[in-house]
C-alpha cells in the first residue's frame, strides 16, 4: 500500500487514540487515587455530550450567535458533568471506600446502568444529531486531505489536557495531595490532607475531561445516544490499563497504542477484527509488562 494510505491510517489512529485518551485520563486519575474502576465514567462522558446538545439547542432557539452558543453550551456541559461526577462519588463511592474491590465494581456498574437509563427515560432512545461545534480552520496544504480540522482540534486538546494534568499533579499543592493520597491514604490523613476534598477534586477533574471528550468526540462523530458511554468507557478502560493504570502519561500512551493498533488492523487486515486485535495487543503487552506500559508494579508487602 502506498505511503498516503499509511499516513491516513496513522492519523486515524492518532484521532482514535486522542479520543480514547480524553476518557482514559479520567479513568486513570480516579483509579490512581482510590483504586476504583469507575464504570460510570463513560456515562459522565455521555451526559456531558447530552447537556451540550440540549443547551446548544436551547441557545439556538433563543437566537444567540454561533460562537456564543459553542462556548456557553460547552461551559454549561462541563460544569454540569463535573457536578455529576462529584455527586456520583459522594452518593455511591464514598460509602464504599472500605468495601471489597468487587463490591465497589458492582456499585459502579449499577451507577452506570442507572445513569444510562436515567438519560434514556428523561430524554429519548433515539440517536440525536450533534451540532458541529468545532470551528473549522484551514489546514496547511501539506496535510490537507489527510487530516481534518476536527481531528487537529482533538489532538491539540488532548495534548493540552495531558500537559495541564501533568503540571497539575507535579507542581501544584493539590497535585501533591493527590499523589500522597494515592500512595497511602491513611498517612495522608495523618499529615493533614483533607482526603475527602482531594477525592472530590479528582472526580471533578476527571469528569471535566470526560465531558470535554464527550463534546469534542460527539462533534466529530456527529451523533449521540444514551448508550455511547458504555462502549467508549470500555475502550478507554482498556487503553488506561494498557498504558498502566494510575499513570497519566501511561493513559495517553496506552490510548495511542490502542488507537494505532485498531486503525492499522482495520486498514490492513479486517475492520471486523479490530477489537480482537486491540485485545490481543493488550494481552501481549501485559504478558511482558504485567503492570502495563508505564505502570508501576504494585509492590506487595508480605
Amino acid at each position: 500500500m502506498d505511503t498516503d494510505y499509511f499516513l491516513k491510517l496513522f492519523f486515524s489512529g492518532l484521532t482514535r487514540g486522542s479520543i480514547y485518551a480524553l476518557l482514559a485520563l479520567g479513568y486513570t486519575m480516579v483509579y490512581g487515587i482510590i483504586k476504583l474502576i469507575n464504570f460510570a465514567h463513560g456515562e459522565i462522558y455521555m451526559i456531558g455530550a447530552f447537556i451540550a446538545l440540549i443547551m446548544s439547542g436551547v441557545f439556538t432557539i433563543w437566537g444567540l450567535p454561533a460562537p456564543a452558543i459553542l462556548v456557553l453550551a460547552s461551559l454549561v456541559a462541563l460544569v454540569y458533568s463535573s457536578a455529576y461526577g462529584y455527586t456520583v462519588e459522594k452518593l455511591a463511592y464514598k460509602p464504599l471506600r472500605r468495601a471489597p474491590r468487587l463490591s465497589v465494581l458492582i456499585g459502579a456498574i449499577g451507577m452506570s446502568l442507572f445513569l444510562q437509563n436515567y438519560v434514556l427515560l428523561a430524554q429519548t432512545s433515539n440517536f440525536l444529531p450533534f451540532p458541529q461545534m468545532l470551528p473549522e480552520f484551514p489546514i496547511p496544504a501539506a496535510l490537507a486531505g489527510t487530516v481534518t480540522s476536527a481531528q487537529m482540534i482533538i489532538f491539540i486538546t488532548t495534548t493540552v489536557v495531558m500537559v495541564i494534568l501533568t503540571v497539575l499533579i507535579k507542581f501544584t499543592r493539590m497535585g501533591k495531595s493527590m499523589r500522597a493520597t494515592s500512595q497511602d491514604r491513611t498517612m495522608a490523613t495523618l499529615v493533614g490532607i483533607n482526603v475527602n476534598r482531594v477525592i472530590s477534586w479528582t472526580f471533578l477533574i476527571g469528569s471535566f475531561t470526560a465531558a470535554l471528550g464527550g463534546i469534542l468526540i460527539s462533534s466529530f462523530i456527529g451523533q449521540i445516544n444514551f448508550y455511547i458511554g458504555f462502549v467508549a468507557g470500555i475502550k478507554a478502560f482498556v487503553a488506561a490499563v494498557l498504558g498502566g493504570i494510575g499513570s497519566i502519561p501511561g493513559a495517553v500512551l496506552g490510548s495511542l497504542v490502542l488507537g494505532m493498533a485498531e486503525s492499522y488492523a482495520a486498514g490492513y487486515i479486517s475492520s471486523v477484527y479490530e477489537d480482537v486485535f486491540a485485545f490481543l495487543i493488550l494481552v501481549l503487552i501485559l504478558i511482558f509488562k504485567p503492570s502495563g506500559l508505564l505502570g508501576k508494579p504494585e509492590v506487595q508487602k508480605v
Partner: protein, 374 residues
C-alpha cells in the same frame, strides 16, 4: 452453610409466590402481545412499534373495541436477545394472547417463533426481515409488514448496476444479523446477476466505534464506485459523514434501516444524495398522517423507525380479528390472507408465506433534506 439453606428456601418461596397466573375468559378483553427491544442499545427500534400498538389500541378501544371487547396490550421487552425473547414468548403463551405484534429483531423473532408456532399463536412483525422466516415454511403463523431482505438486496443490486452503471462495488455491513444479511444478499444478487461487475470490498464495521476513517480509507483505496451498506442509521450516518469529510463522494446506498427521518437528521448535510431502499412512501397516505399526528400529540416527538410498519401490523391484526369474527387462530390467519386492510402503507393483505402483498420496496434518494421516491 446448612443454616443458610433456609434463606434459599425462603427466597425461592417468596420469589415464586410473587407469581401471578392469568387466564382469559371468552368475554374479557382481547389480549394482544407487543414484544420488542424497549431498553438497551436497540431500544430506538422497538419503542416506536410499542407506541404504534398503543395508539392503535387506544383508537380502536375508543370506537368500541374489537367484536365488542376491549383490546388489552401485553407489552414486553426482549432487548433483542433471543434468550429473553423465548421467556417473553412463554409469557405471552401464559397470558393467552390472541396474537403478538413483534418481535423486532430477526434473531429474537426467530427464537420466539419456535414457541409461538408450537402454541398456535399468530405473530406479525414490523421489522424482522430475514427471508427464511417466511420462506422456509417453518413458521406458517408468521406474518410481516415489511419486505424480506433478499428482495431489498436484489433491488439494490439492480439499481446500482443498471441505473448507476458502476462496475466496482464496495459492500459494507454492521456485523448484525440484519445488516450482514442484507449485505450478503446484495452481494449474491450482484454476483449472480451481473458477472462483469466486481465486488471489490466486502467488510464489516464495528458498531459504536468512535472513528471509521480506517475503513473509509480502505473504501477510497479500493477504487469502488459505489458503497452498499447493510445496517442501521447510526452507523450509516457516521460512515457517510466520514466518507464526505475525506472527500470520497461516491454514491452511497443502504436499506430500510436508514430509510427514516432520523437518518437525515443525524447525518445532516452528508445525507444529501444518499440512496435507500425502503417500503413504499407513506407521506401521502391519510392514515399515516393521522398516525404521525397522534404520535406527536401523545409522545411529544416524531415517530421513530418502523413506526409505520408497526402501526400497519397493529391495524392488520385488529382488522383480521374483526373480520374473522373470533379469536380463533386459523380464522385470523385466513382473514389476514384474504382480506385487504387499509393501513399507513396502503391497502395490503398477506400471501401464503406471510409476506405482505402491496408492501414492496422502492428506491429513494435524499434530495434537499427529504427522501424522494425515484
Amino acid at each position: 452453610m446448612r443454616n443458610k439453606i433456609v434463606v434459599v428456601f425462603l427466597a425461592f418461596a417468596l420469589v415464586a409466590s410473587l407469581v401471578g397466573a392469568s387466564g382469559q375468559s371468552e368475554s374479557g378483553p382481547i389480549k394482544i402481545g407487543v414484544a420488542g427491544a424497549h431498553s438497551g442499545d436497540l431500544a430506538s427500534y422497538g419503542l416506536p412499534t410499542a407506541n404504534a400498538a398503543q395508539l392503535v389500541a387506544e383508537k380502536v378501544n375508543a370506537e368500541g373495541g374489537i367484536l365488542g371487547r376491549q383490546i388489552q396490550l401485553v407489552v414486553e421487552d426482549d432487548q433483542c436477545d433471543p434468550g429473553i425473547a423465548t421467556n417473553i414468548a412463554a409469557k405471552m403463551v401464559g397470558e393467552k394472547v390472541v396474537a403478538v405484534i413483534g418481535h423486532i429483531c430477526s434473531g429474537a423473532t426467530r427464537s420466539a417463533l419456535s414457541i409461538y408456532t408450537g402454541e398456535n399463536i399468530v405473530a406479525i412483525s414490523p421489522s424482522a426481515t430475514t427471508p427464511e422466516l417466511t420462506q422456509s415454511g417453518e413458521f406458517p403463523l408468521f406474518f410481516r409488514t415489511i419486505a424480506p431482505d433478499d428482495a431489498q438486496g436484489q433491488i439494490q443490486a439492480k439499481f446500482v448496476v443498471e441505473t448507476l452503471g458502476v462496475k466496482r462495488v464496495a459492500i459494507l455491513h454492521d456485523n448484525g444479523d440484519y445488516g450482514q444479511g442484507l449485505a450478503e444478499f446484495a452481494q449474491a444478487a450482484i454476483e449472480a446477476g451481473y458477472p462483469d461487475v466486481k465486488v471489490v470490498l466486502m467488510e464489516g464495521v464495528t458498531v459504536g466505534a468512535v472513528d471509521y476513517s480506517a475503513i473509509v480509507n480502505r473504501v477510497g483505496s479500493s477504487g469502488a464506485e459505489v458503497v452498499i451498506f447493510g445496517g442501521y442509521h447510526p452507523e450509516a450516518s457516521k460512515l457517510v459523514g466520514q466518507m464526505r469529510t475525506q472527500g470520497i463522494n461516491i454514491p452511497f446506498i443502504s436499506g430500510d434501516g436508514i430509510k427514516d427521518e432520523s437518518f437525515i437528521d443525524v447525518a445532516g448535510k452528508a445525507s444529501e444524495g444518499v440512496y435507500a431502499t425502503g417500503p413504499m412512501d407513506t407521506t401521502g397516505n391519510p392514515i399515516a398522517e393521522e398516525a404521525r399526528k397522534a404520535h406527536l400529540a401523545k409522545y411529544g416527538e416524531e415517530p421513530g423507525p418502523f413506526f409505520m410498519n408497526g402501526y400497519t401490523a397493529a391495524l392488520a391484526i385488529v382488522n383480521a380479528i374483526e373480520a374473522a369474527g373470533s379469536t380463533d387462530t386459523d380464522a385470523i390467519v385466513k382473514a389476514l390472507r384474504s382480506k385487504y386492510v387499509e393501513t399507513p402503507m396502503g391497502s395490503i393483505r398477506f400471501d401464503d408465506a406471510g409476506d405482505a402483498i402491496g408492501v414492496g420496496f422502492a428506491i429513494y434518494q435524499v434530495q434537499n433534506g427529504v427522501y424522494v421516491e425515484l
